[in-house]
């Protein structure tokens, strides 16, 4: 089954799916593991594991700092992959995706990176700075390996652009809820509703909505409009403030 089919299947029992995010090696792989455990045990559907990069231009201050601290801790790409492999084994109920920037992939070797991703049981990749124009071979290789190359819709995308972009996507479309970087509050208002209607028309892929989703109220508002809510910065903040043990209850509370 493709990731898209997997998600559709889950949607038969759930009003909305959840995807969470964390930065590998921040604050440490041990904490990462505990956080992932709590997420998995509380029904998260997908998790983005971000391989840290020194120039995370699309991330806001919280994730950006997490990238930086992780690298300062000495986190390497190889370690991240090793850790990811363990997680995929330990939490088979979760769909894992790598999130990173293109240089990490490029230096690893595009094909090698994707093969490895597939091999460890991941289902897709999200690359913050690889628009379809630059990612032709990347998309092709992903498809060949049955991996989902996640594409983005944004509030600045024209309908035509959405249609174009969607052609390159698999799994789901990551709909950025507002302009800007990660980590800022998004008002899920009328504009977002209209925007998501557009998104829906432009593709048959499930819609994941991210950027600024921080609690149950947000998730609730997305129900019926999107297929998956993406919680990014909110959990990083939570772990920073209350430690990994707070994650379970938070996740459980998102979708009552």
């Amino acid at each position: 089954m493709t990731l898209q089919q997997e998600l559709r299947k889950r949607l038969e029992h759930k009003s909305i799916l959840l995807m969470t995010h964390l930065v590998l090696g921040y604050p440490s792989f041990e904490v990462n593991k505990e956080v992932i455990r709590q997420m998995a045990e509380n029904g998260v559907d997908c998790i983005e594991l971000q391989i840290p990069f020194s120039e995370p231009i699309a991330d806001g201050p919280v994730i950006s700092k997490a990238n930086q601290k992780s690298l300062q801790n000495g986190t390497t790409v190889r370690e991240c992959i090793l850790f990811a492999e363990q997680m995929a084994v330990e939490f088979p109920q979760v769909h894992f995706l790598f999130m990173t920037y293109y240089n990490i992939v490029y230096k690893y070797g595009e094909r090698a990176f994707l093969e490895k991703t597939k091999k460890i049981g991941f289902t897709g990749t999200i690359i913050g700075d690889l628009p379809p124009e630059e990612g032709q071979s990347y998309v092709a290789a992903s498809r060949e390996l049955d991996l989902a190359p996640i594409v983005f819709f944004t509030p600045t995308s024209t309908f035509e652009r959405m249609q174009d972009v969607a052609k390159y996507g698999e799994g789901f479309v990551y709909c950025v809820a507002r302009k800007g970087v990660t980590g800022k509050q998004t008002a899920l208002d009328e504009h977002v509703a209209v925007y998501l209607e557009q998104c829906r028309k432009a593709t048959d892929l499930p819609l994941a909505v991210g950027f600024g989703i921080s609690g149950a109220a947000d998730v609730q508002k997305l129900q019926g409009r999107a297929d998956m809510a993406v919680i990014g910065t909110a959990t990083i903040r939570l772990v920073d403030e209350k430690g990994p043990s707070a994650v379970g209850a938070f996740i459980a509370g998102l979708r009552d």
Binding site: F53, S54, E55, P56, I57, A58, D59, G60, P61, S64, K65, Q68, L71, T76, V77, R78, Y101, Y102, N103, I104, Y106, K107, Y108, G128, D129, L130, P131, E133, E134, V151, F152, F153, T154, P155, T156, S157, T158, R161, V165, V176, R178, K179, G180, V181, K184
Partner: protein
Amino acid sequence: MTGVNSFSRYRELLLKSLKEKVVDTMKKGYFGQWGGAYIPEVLHATFVELNKAYDLARTDKKFWQEYVDFMQNYSCRPTPLTYAENLSDHLGGARIYIKREDLNHTGAHKANNVMGQGLLVKRMGKKRVIAETGAGQHGVATATMAAKFGFECTIYMGEEDVLRQRPNVFWMEKLGATVVPVTDGSRTLKDAMNEAFRDWVSSMDTTHYVIGTVCGPHPFPEMVAWFQSIIGIEAREQILKQFGKLPSRVYACVGGGSNAMGIFQGFLQDEGVELVGVEAGGKGLETGMHASRMVGGKSQPGVAQGYKTMFLQSDEGQMLDTHSIAAGLDYVGVSPILVDLGEKGRVRFESATDEAVLEALSLSMRTEGIIPALESSHGFVQAIKEAPKMQRDEAIIINMSGRGDKDIFTIAHAYDDPSWKEFIIQRAEEYKNRV
């Protein structure tokens, strides 16, 4: 120089040359295998708009004329080509000419790019500009342009640089810009650039990001090179008039590569003219404390900050810390156009150490009464090394990208001038007593 009229003629030639000689696949802004536009999807529409505006401007003769007129009336173009008679005599060998970008308004070639983008922003109807800056030169130039065009202006600058380059921060603020210290990463230039992108992805409707060099996603490398080509257009005309024939070599320092691309373009089609780019050798290539991407074999192809080029990075793709006495050369990446020209053998790359730079600077001051910026002094180093081995009937041009008085804190520090230190200590005492 009559200048003005001949510009449009040259412009045609140049664009032709840029396309034919450098650009293999122009479609997506590639130069050979370098360049591209690795941008977050949210910026797609913004880049579509920018590409459109740039293409319109590029094919509109009136725009270039407007640009040239503006630069003549606001920034002293054409800048002179000064025959460095004393330096030439002192060294023996080739006759040395200096292209005087230091005489631009705000003191460096940065003005060419910034004012050009300013005119474009006016056309696009945007009301705000943002920029990254390292040493602060591009920041001051952008703040100046914003004041002149009536734009709002925010400058991102690594916190380290804010502390080191207070004089430039002071002027930016006085010119009406908001300077935001960036506390991410190494808190220097590349981090400022990241932060500017972060601003841009939320503000693109009203805001243009004025990238300061021939780097970043397409169309920036090509566009900035286009604006800077005014240096080469003038220099070619001037050397023919003053020396009677083309120079044997043209030297320019290479940070991002904009001043180098600016002057090189004037001579790209002249196969007999060797083009030499000089990178920051810092404390020596062997120490790892440098910013040489083309020389020294330590850099690797990579993709960051929106484009593909040679980056100083780890094997896993994390960017490294760089070092140069010249803040403007202290950058991990380099123009994709220059990498391509290097691969094709059209540009030779060299590097100059901090120490050699200070020596060249001294020599230039004493023989010519000219104070090149620390960045520009890198070009002087290599020219001074090579000129003596050349013939008297040959000429070389050094592109003096900026003036050195901006660097007084660094230079006085580097020369370890005791009176300077005393002066600063005394000033500090006064301030402390009055606080």
